[in-house]
Structure formats: structure tokens, C-alpha cells
């Protein structure tokens, strides 16, 4: 199994945000997590990427137990993520934002910096090349020298993608990548995700935009009040009575 959670549970005080969820992510596919607002989707992401430690349950990545690893170590294993709200460095250029994304694959230290060793120069070049590569990949070539603060919402989302990709991930978690962008741009972002999968990067995303998800995802899990209420192909999810009830009964955010 590529990435797998077992009985994953997270409680915040009296609230159980994620309740006993078993989920497996299929390699090389687009996996989606949907559910009404407050269903625990972002929390579930936070658990898998080491941001919160679960109250109980485990997370495995390629057979390795990563439940208690800190998020920076998890990133090194090849798991990248974006946040629901982009928190990029707005006063800096796209390129400068993305360059540091490859830092985790480099070794140079403070000493290298002070003496400007060949290793540092080589690694700086390496980071820059990586950044250019993922910027090109994310379709940001023409804005690479612009400040992030001056970009459109869609371009910011793409920059966040590029930053995640600069870490050389095997899987990326994208938390509502298409929130706040228009339908046309959503289409473009969906294409970008498909391109990632074609480049053998597994994608797992949270999204409220149903039309997009149903077209894009290979596999969908539905969360409601922290619990997994369904899992399957878009076709199966569309026709699942529990899901329909949850969406119509709860906050219909589709």
C-alpha cells in the first residue's frame, strides 16, 4: 500500500474532528476527499502530513510508520502539501519563493555560506534549476519575477503547487486548490493536476467543487462529522444514498 491510515482519530477537547478513519491512497492516481464544511478534511490532511499528531491510529507511507514523525521529516520522505489558505511570502518574487522549496534536498550549512564553498554554489544552482523547472511545469514562466503579492489567486495557487513540487515529492496533498478561482481557471488547475499524475506524482486533494472532482478523481472518500461515510469511484459516490443524504441534509456546499 502506498499511503495508508488505520483507525486515525483526532480529538480537539470534546470535539472529534477525525473519527476512526481507514483510508488508502493509490499510487499514481488522483485521490479526493470531499465532505461538508467542518467535516474534518483539513484535519485529516494535517494528520497525514505530520502537522497534528493523532489522538489514536496510525499512518503508513510505503510500509513505514510515519505517525509520530515531525512534518519536516515527512516532507523529506517525499510527501508535500499546500494549505487551504496560501501563506506564501507575498513581498518576494515567485522564483525566490520557490527556490527554497528544494532546500531539503541540499546539505550546505552555515559554514558553507560563510566561506561560499563550491558545495554551496553548486547547491544554489541546483535549487535555482529545480525552481525554474517546477515554475515552467506549473505554467508560471511569465510571472516568475513578479512579487507573489501582485499575482492573481490562480497564479498564487500555482505558485503554491510549484513550491510543493520543488521538494521532489512522490505525493502531494492539495487543500482546496481551486477555492476562489473562476471556472476557467479551475479547468487549468485540473489540467495541472493531471499533468502531475502523468509525471508519476500521486495527488490527493480536498475540494468542494463537485463538477471538477467528479471529472478529475479516480477515487473519492467522503467525510462527514469526522467519519468516513463512503469511498469509491466518482460513479459510486454519486449514487451513494448516504452521501446524498449527508450533502442534502447538511450544509450543501456542492
Amino acid at each position: 500500500m502506498f499511503l495508508e491510515t488505520r483507525n486515525l482519530t483526532k480529538r480537539f477537547g470534546g470535539l472529534t474532528a477525525v473519527n476512526n478513519v481507514d483510508f488508502s491512497i493509490e499510487q499514481g492516481k488522483i485521490n479526493a476527499i470531499i465532505g461538508p464544511n467542518g467535516a474534518g478534511k483539513s484535519t485529516f490532511f494535517n494528520l497525514m502530513s505530520g502537522f497534528h499528531s493523532p489522538s489514536s491510529g496510525k499512518v503508513f507511507f510505503k510500509g513505514q510508520d510515519i505517525t509520530s514523525l515531525p512534518s519536516n521529516k515527512i516532507a523529506k520522505l517525499g510527501i508535500a502539501r499546500t494549505f487551504q489558505t496560501t501563506n506564501l511570502f507575498e513581498q518576494s518574487t515567485v522564483l525566490d519563493n520557490v527556490i527554497v522549496g528544494h532546500r531539503l534536498r541540499t546539505k550546505s550549512t552555515l559554514i558553507d555560506a560563510i566561506f561560499r564553498t563550491p558545495r554551496l554554489k553548486h547547491e544554489e544552482e541546483q535549487c535555482r534549476e529545480k525552481a525554474m523547472e517546477v515554475i515552467e511545469f506549473a505554467g508560471l514562466k511569465k510571472v516568475e519575477d513578479k512579487l507573489v503579492g501582485s499575482l492573481t489567486q490562480e497564479e498564487k495557487k500555482r505558485t503554491a503547487f510549484a513550491l510543493a513540487l520543488a521538494t521532489d515529492p512522490e505525493i502531494v496533498f492539495l487543500d482546496e486548490p481551486a477555492a476562489g478561482v473562476n471556472p476557467e481557471e479551475t479547468e487549468g488547475l485540473a489540467e495541472l493536476m493531471e499533468k502531475m499524475v502523468q509525471n508519476s506524482i500521486t495527488v490527493c486533494l480536498i475540494e468542494h467543487k463537485m463538477r471538477m472532482i467528479m471529472k478529475l478523481a479516480d477515487k473519492i472518500m467522503v467525510l462527514n462529522y469526522g467519519e468516513k461515510i463512503a469511498e469509491g469511484t466518482p460513479e459510486e459516490i454519486r449514487n451513494n444514498p448516504t452521501v446524498i443524504k449527508a450533502y442534502l441534509g447538511g450544509s450543501a456546499s456542492a
Partner: protein, 344 residues
Amino acid sequence: MKILKRQYIILAMLLFAIFFPLLTQNEYLVHVMTLSFIWMIGVYGLNLLAGYTGYLSLAHAGFFAIGAYSLGLLTVKTQMNFWAAFVLALVITSVIGFLVGLIALRTKEHFFAIYTLCVGYIIYLVIDKWDSLTEGVRGLIGIPAPGNIGPISFQTPLSQYYLVLSILLLSVLVMYRIIHSLTGRTYIAIRNSEELAQTIGISTIKNKLAAFVLSTFFAGLSGALYASFIRFIGPDIGHTVITFDLLTYLLVGGIGTLSGPIVGTVLVVWISQQLQFLQDYRMLIFGPVLTLLVIFYPRGIVGAIASWNNKRAGRTKQLALKDTQKDDRFASSEIAPENQVKEG
């Protein structure tokens, strides 16, 4: 073209610093300038941590005092060779910095500032009360001037001026290299968002600790130079007041900019000198001016100049682009005021 201009400014500043003693011929001014250089080194330390890594430490005077007292005690009480004591003083400061950092960096933001404020005050108290070691309020006298390096002696104010200037230039070079390296990018990433830094695989704990230790190292370096230059130290040098002096220099010059510490220190020290007749009423002027500066120019004078430059550059660019790219909605002038961090 802009880079060329900046090089000229740096060259001019450098030449001015080198010829300053010859130009003034005024020993007092040379003394004040030497002291300013010493403060600048400490301000650079503060800048690395507060400006580039995003952790505002208020224990800085404490580490300045540790550097000064380590040098003073080692040379006066154990008669150690000056440069050996100097190096050891830096090691001692850094080691204590490391230990304090281990604990302090478990806190963030305001809590970090408050915690380090307390640490700084405790350091001051220890120096003040531990009579048997530090001579307490009597202070430590008879600290030697820097020892000879080969044939060069540092007994005269002029030679000390150039010694301190060289160490300052070296410090600036080291800072420049750190900031413009992957390590510097790592620190800036932490300042921007610790969460994001972690998700891109940065060990924030390790990097913050390194920045903290380095910052105390520069505080210690500044303190050790101070002790050997003034040759008398009292517990007051570790007082919180000194921390806020250093912070003022940094804020006026430009926090998170490379030339801010120099600009701010020179300016504030010079203005203080001019306003000395006002005694402590100076603060009636400084207080409001500083407040206004922080509100309107959060990145100090250097930041303000950089953003004016950008605005100008943006406007010229916009004119040039007018015909070719009419629908370029995001001309750089719109966001120029924000673009302050990279400059300086």
C-alpha cells in the same frame, strides 16, 4: 544600473570610514565613531535573529555583557593572553546562547520576546549581584587594550578605530554571505511562515537555534570589543536599556535589511550626540519619532529608500511598457511599497 549605483554608495561609505579619522582630526569624534562600529556589530546580531528569522530577542544586552565580562574577567583575573581570552569570550557567549536558545525557542512571538526579556534581566542581575566574581556595582577596571597582532599594536585610539572597523567589515561580509545563501533563504522562510517552512522540509528547530547562537555570537563579539575599547565595564552594560538602544538603531535603520544596522546606528548615535544638552528629555523627541517611523516605515530608513527607488523604477518601467503591454494589470509600481525586504 541600479547595482552599479549601489556599489558606488558602498565604496563611498567605505572610503569615508577609512579616511574619517584623518578628516576630522578630532579624537572625540573618532572615539564616538569607534563605539558606533562596536554597537553596529551587536545590531547585526540582533538583525539576523529579529530581522531575518523573525524572532525578536530582548536578551541581547545580556549577551553583550557576557562577551564583555568574559573578556574582562579572563584578562584581568586570570591574566590570560588577550586574543586567547577574546576567542574564549566568544565561545562562552555562544555556548550560553545555545543553552538559552534551547529553552527560549520553545516559545514564539510575544512569549519569546517576554521570555528573552526576562533572561536578559537575569543576566544583568547575576552580573550585578555576584560580587565575588564580577566585582558587582564597582565594575571591572584595568581591562587591557587589544594585544599586538605580530608587529601591529593597538594601543592608540587610531589603531583601535581601524581594528574595530576591520572586524565590522568582516561581520558585514559574513552577514551578507549568510543572507544571500541557502541558509539565509531558510531563515527568511521561517520568518515568513514557520508552518510553510516545515512542510517544505526545513527543520525549524535546528535553524532557529543556529540563528539564535549566531546572533548571540555577534552580541558577544560586540561586547568583547567594547570591554577592550572602554577598558572599564559595569553591570549597566547588560541592562535592558542597552537592548532597547540596539533595537532602536535597528528599527531606525531598517530591520531585515543589510545596511540598516549601519545607517540606524550612525544616525541615532550622531543625533543623540547633538541633542546631549537635552539630557534625558531627548527621549521626548526620540519616542514619538520612533513610533511614527515604525508605523509609517516598518522597514526603517533603508526600507523606505528602497521602496522609493522601486516606485521610481516601476513608474519608468510602466511608461516603457505602455504601448507594448497595455493589459499588464500588475505593473510593479502597484506593489512597490511592499518590496522592501530584499533591498538594503
